[in-house]
């Protein structure tokens, strides 16, 4: 029985992916779990594994095609099996695609002598150009096909071109389409500028360096502008006594191999997960007038990768042992740095953490990772003078700051969360039982 393989969804906000390479060609044998193709998302290049064993019967889309999530990309089945070919769904040519050439040569019966070497588009009479009208705006993996004039008008009048239906050849957005969008009652197409327009113009001089941002950087920018502009953040900082945790970590690591040693952050992840169980309102997302409290506690960990950062996710963090959390984070962070994360690595976080502890940071705050309701910024554990029983003495302290969506929660709850978190961090043995 042939099985259709679809474009996987690799994150909350993933709408489409580019099929960059077929690893298995049509006719090749494939086992369940083998890598079938590589796809590129805003965040990374990831491998798609085959959910079935058999023979690759068909590639439904070509390499370089931008495919919506859940649209079919390939069929795997038994050798020789006949399959009904599904149409590629809204597959859009990637930016390298040429414009459709007119088929003038065949249709208009040109004089037999002329060995036309060139595309005769412009010179052949009565050449009807096939102008496919796409169902969706022709955005080629982020690039919207629009004439320079259409782009200028859109820019000047704040029209979101991705919402304008193009009627030009190949679905190109042309002037009249933008003008129609402007006059029609379609306020959604007219957007507020996402960045303030009043920024001073930058004059690039010879000494300056101009660097093209990566897709990842652009994705981070988009998400965080959206987060910072639409979510009312508030922040609560708490200082934790780290002496007990540092001691316990030393004891535990003494029994572990070099590759297995647990980090301060692993403890904190576990502590955060256990605390979130007591504060389900912070392990949540808001949707309109409803707060959805997640059933699982999946703590995300921001990882620095070339060109930006990614959040890898420890599933059911609250139920995992410290060593398991540690091993998973190590493995996922490694894959993230190599640009080879698995879909599962980055999907499904319910609360995020960001740790700059290794850079000797006293305190910092983080921007909420939508659609979550809160994020915890963890700074360095440092040995500082502390007052205890009227005496000044050295002690290990660490600050952490939680950023919370005020639509979901208030300062008091956040402060209580931070206090409850201390209950674990400062009594780390609780995390071992």
């Amino acid at each position: 029985m042939a099985e259709t393989i679809n474009m996987p969804k690799l994150g909350f906000d993933m709408a489409e992916g580019t099929l960059v390479r077929w690893v298995k060609q049509v006719g090749e044998n494939i086992n369940k779990g083998d890598v079938l193709a590589e796809i590129e998302t805003d965040k990374a290049t990831v491998e798609v594994e085959s959910p079935a064993s058999g023979v690759v019967l068909q590639h439904i889309v070509d390499q370089g095609t931008v495919v919506p999530v859940n649209a079919p990309i390939a069929i795997v089945g038994a050798a020789g099996e006949k399959v009904e070919a599904p149409k590629p769904e809204g597959g859009k040519p990637a930016p390298t695609e040429q414009k459709p050439e007119t088929k003038a040569e065949e249709k208009s019966a040109p004089p037999p002598v002329v060995p036309t070497q060139e595309k005769p588009a412009a010179t052949q009479p009565a050449a009807p150009t096939p102008a496919p009208t796409p169902a969706q705006p022709p955005s080629d993996g982020g690039h919207i096909k629009a004439s320079p004039l259409a782009k200028k008008i859109a820019r000047d009048s704040n029209v979101d071109l991705s919402r304008v239906q193009g009627t030009g050849p190949g679905g190109r957005v042309v002037r009249k389409d933008v003008e129609a969008a402007l006059t029609s009652v379609q306020p959604s197409a007219v957007s507020r500028p996402s960045t303030p327009v009043a920024f001073a113009q930058v004059n690039v001089t010879q000494e300056d360096q101009v660097i093209q941002t990566t897709k990842l950087r652009q994705a981070i920018g988009r998400r965080l502008v959206e987060s910072k502009q639409s979510i009312p953040h508030f922040y609560v900082t708490h200082e934790y006594k780290m002496d007990a945790l540092m001691d316990l970590r030393k004891q535990i690591n003494a029994y572990l191999g070099d590759n297995e040693k647990v980090s301060v952050n692993d403890f904190i992840l576990k502590a955060v997960a256990l605390t979130l169980r007591q504060f389900p309102n912070l392990n949540a997302t808001i949707k309109g007038n409803e707060v959805i409290r997640f059933g699982h506690v999946n703590v995300g960990v921001a990882v620095t990768v070339p060109g930006g950062l990614m959040t890898v996710v420890v599933k059911d963090t609250d139920q995992k042992m410290l060593r398991q959390i540690s091993a998973e984070v190590k493995a996922m962070a490694g894959r993230a740095r190599e640009g080879k994360v698995k879909p599962d690595d980055v999907d499904g976080s319910t609360f995020s953490t960001s740790n700059l502890g290794m850079y000797d940071v006293e305190d910092f705050i983080a921007i909420i990772n939508p659609p979550e309701a809160a994020i915890l910024a963890i700074s360095s554990a440092r040995e500082v003078p502390v007052v205890e029983g009227g005496q000044i003495k050295p002690g290990w302290r660490m600050k952490a700051t939680i950023s919370v969506d005020h639509r979901v929660s208030d300062g008091a709850e956040a402060a209580q969360f931070m206090q409850a978190l201390a209950g674990f961090i400062e009594n780390p043995v609780r995390m071992l039982v």
Partner: protein, 324 residues
């Protein structure tokens, strides 16, 4: 206003300038006793005599070379090339000497010479005598290249060319000598290096010149029947190129085609198109298309020759394509 042929217009321009300035003289193959291959100088020999109407040997490099020398010492020669294809025999003089003498001698010499050359295909003269290599000559700074599409422009531009102190290649089309058009009464001049809107429209801009103007005007009439109003900008001069009316029109229509008789590759259309993209990018609403000759040596066979040359239906199709 009198309606006269292109031939009469050019003939009048030559005669008026010869009458006005004794330094103006004509030289070329069969221009004298025979009256010119295209009968432009018919009667001139009898009127002005052998000193001012000089029949030359069949040696184009000698014709242009001698004209350059005469021009450098103060005469105003009008050298005729029976076809522009013969300019290749005189290529060094046409593109390497005439356009550079003023510059290389630090302005001590001027070369007030006009080369009248007959260009274009469509008369079954074979591959070597039917070319439209205008873009080749327009490539060289220092050489002005003029190619009119109406009798009025031909007369006014040729008179300006003869009075100019720069070397000018004046290209006439072999199939257009019988074209009739209104020409103002009395003396008038048309400045070199000025493009002109020959037909107003709002939907699409057709940029063209010379034979392309004739074809484009016909195409525009056909398009008009379908409700498409084409604006036609006639370049008239390829160098110096006047882009202002082109850009002004394009900013209005946002869509354009360029029509030329020469080959498409590296041609006039390529130049105009690039300039529009460079200077009016934000006004581009569709790719600009070029209508031009097929990339083959022009066939002798009449049917094939016509098929290789740009025709009215090609222009109509291209205009509709950019309007999609």
């Amino acid at each position: 206003m009198a309606k006269i042929t292109m031939r009469e217009a050019i003939s009048q321009a030559l005669m008026e300038e010869m009458d006005r300035d004794p330094g103006v003289f004509i030289m070329g193959e069969e221009v004298g006793v025979w009256g010119g291959t295209y009968a432009v100088t018919k009667g001139f020999y009898d009127k002005y005599g052998p000193d001012r109407i000089k029949d030359t040997p069949i040696a184009e490099n000698a014709i242009i070379g001698a004209a350059i020398g005469a021009a450098m010492v103060g005469q105003r020669p009008v050298a005729e090339l029976m076809t522009i294809n013969f300019a290749f025999s005189a290529m060094d003089y046409v593109v390497n000497q005439a356009p550079k003498l003023h510059y290389m001698f630090g302005g001590q010499f001027t070369v007030p010479m006009v080369i009248r050359a007959v260009g274009g295909g469509g008369r079954q003269l074979g591959a070597t005598h039917s070319q439209t290599p205008d873009a080749v000559f327009a490539h060289f700074p220092g050489l002005k290249v003029v190619s009119p599409g109406t009798p009025e422009d031909a007369k006014g531009l040729l008179k300006s060319a003869i009075r100019s102190n720069d070397p000018i290649l004046f290209i006439e089309h072999a199939t257009m000598y019988q074209v009739r058009g209104d020409v103002p009464d009395g003396e008038y001049l048309i400045p070199i290096g000025k493009s002109k809107v020959q037909r107003e429209g709002k939907d699409v801009t057709i940029i063209t010149y010379c034979k392309g103007l004739e074809l484009s005007m016909k195409a525009a009439e056909e398009l008009s029947k379908e409700g498409i109003e084409a604006e036609i900008v006639d370049l008239r001069t390829l160098r110096p190129l006047d882009m202002e009316p082109v850009l002004e029109s394009f900013k209005k229509t946002n869509r354009a085609i360029v029509v030329e008789e020469g080959w498409k590759s590296y041609g006039v259309g390529s130049e105009i198109t690039s300039r529009i993209y460079e200077e009016a990018f934000d006004y581009v609403d569709a790719p600009i298309l070029r209508v031009a000759q097929k990339e083959v040596p022009l066939p002798y066979n009449r049917t094939l020759e016509q098929a290789a040359l740009p025709q009215v239906p090609d222009i109509i199709a291209a205009a509709k394509e950019v309007l999609q």
